[in-house]
């Protein structure tokens, strides 16, 4: 008989195959969406938290988790969506931040939105293409709720920036 903690470690390992539906280089673990894995009485439960309240990808993520675990023989996995703790971009792992940058999405800085952000100067965002810091924001809202639209003044490439929340 496999002991529970070994099984849970194995499940975490398998879950690394589940990628963000919109950003296929980023695993849900690196995104920080998967919070808990528990195995008890032969049942596996995975707890996920939403990135944004209205994120339409949450259902997709749930299905992908069940599918990947099913392919590894875990037939009765349950996915529970929880609101607490509130997801922040600080939950993205170092590996996740690097993957975003290499994929062409400027990663968020390591600091959570606060009141100063509201009226303060926006932080510097580095162009993921030419690495220049000379960039400007085009719109606070980009192609998905979690991204803002930027443009590099030096190489003229538009790019997505993963918003800091």
């Amino acid at each position: 008989m496999v002991d529970t903690s070994q099984l849970e470690a194995q499940i975490w390992h398998w879950l690394d195959e589940v990628k963000d539906p919109e950003i296929p280089v980023l695993s849900l673990i690196d995104l920080g969406v998967i919070q808990e894995v528990s195995c008890a009485d032969g049942r596996t439960e995975v707890v996920i938290i939403p990135t944004y309240s209205g994120c339409p990808a949450m259902k997709e993520m749930e299905n992908d988790i069940i599918k990947v675990l099913g392919a590894h023989g875990v037939a009765d996995a349950k996915v529970q969506l929880r609101l607490s703790p509130a997801w922040t971009t600080d939950m993205i792992t170092e590996r996740g931040l690097r993957a975003l940058d290499e994929y062409g999405i400027a990663p968020p800085p390591k600091a959570t939105a606060d009141k100063g952000f509201l009226l303060g100067k926006p932080h510097m965002v580095r162009c993921p293409q030419c690495k220049s810091g000379n960039t400007e924001m085009i719109s606070q809202f980009g192609s998905t709720p979690c991204k803002a639209l930027y443009r590099c003044v030096d190489c003229r490439e538009p790019f997505d920036h993963f918003k800091c929340i």
Binding site: P50, Y52, P56, A86, Q140, F141, G142, P145, K163, I165
Partner: protein, 252 residues
């Protein structure tokens, strides 16, 4: 009114606000004045619909009659909605939409900043999520409000007119009823009067920065807490609820 009813009404109103305004601004989809703004305003709409889902689902659990978020959104009548009147107003031109959005976002930001500390742990969890999104909403609408007010002669004139016309609907955002006494006493939500004072201070500063004048009208529309709406609400619900009315129980 007992505490459970008060909690239900309070959370329901928060959910109705998000649902009705979120639905209203979703009408801009494909019609925004510029591609970036089209995406921005419907991203705000999407956030509001997500918040509405969390809130209405929670309201349904408090009520305890087995109604879920879909039942509450699609199967209630106009008089059962208690959203603030400002949420249901037609979009008008983009300056009208931005003016309403700024006035509402400023209120919403102050309110959710307090709800983060609610003694109701589930509401506090929703608030922790919501406040991050609402901060972006306020930043967006405030920027545009100032940019258009302090813009060309034409945009300045239009923004002053938008502000003057929507002003009589702002008082209703802060309306309270019997349930609020319970809510404040239990530490579930803040005193509306204090939110109102802080809102006025913030709005005054933003209006000045936008080189506009504060409206002089003092008469305020009211009625949302008792389900009395503007003439626009019925049309909004007709569209929002069409599928469930035409095909009861329809799922996809």
């Amino acid at each position: 009114m007992n505490l459970q009813e008060a909690r239900y009404r309070y959370v329901l109103r928060l959910g109705d606000n998000a649902l009705v305004l979120g639905h209203r601004i979703s009408e801009w989809c494909g019609h925004g004045p510029a591609l970036e703004e089209d995406m921005a305003i419907i991203n705000v709409s999407l956030d509001l619909l997500g918040q509405c889902r969390n809130l209405l689902a929670y309201a349904g659990r408090i009520e305890g009659k087995g109604r879920n978020e879909d039942d509450l959104a699609y199967l209630r009548l106009e008089k059962d909605f208690t959203n603030a009147l400002i949420c249901e107003l037609p979009n008008g031109h983009y300056g009208d939409t931005i003016t309403r959005q700024y006035l509402y976002d400023q209120f919403n930001y102050l309110l959710w900043s307090e709800l983060v500390n609610s003694t109701d742990t589930e509401l506090a969890a929703i608030a922790a999520k919501t406040i991050k999104e609402v901060t972006y909403h306020l930043r967006h609408s405030r920027d545009w409000f100032i940019r258009l007010g302090d813009g060309t002669d034409e945009s300045h004139r239009k923004m002053q007119q938008s502000l003057d016309e929507v002003w009589m609907f702002t008082g209703d955002m802060f309306a309270t009823d019997d349930s609020d006494a319970h809510i404040v006493r239990e530490g579930i939500g803040p005193e509306m009067a204090s939110i109102h004072t802080r809102w006025l201070d913030a709005v005054r500063a933003t209006v000045a920065e936008a080189t506009l004048n504060m409206p002089t009208g003092t008469w305020m529309q009211s009625g949302s807490r008792i389900g009395r709406h503007t003439e626009h609400m019925g049309y909004l619900l007709t569209e929002l609820q069409y599928m469930q009315r035409a095909y009861p129980g329809c799922e996809w």
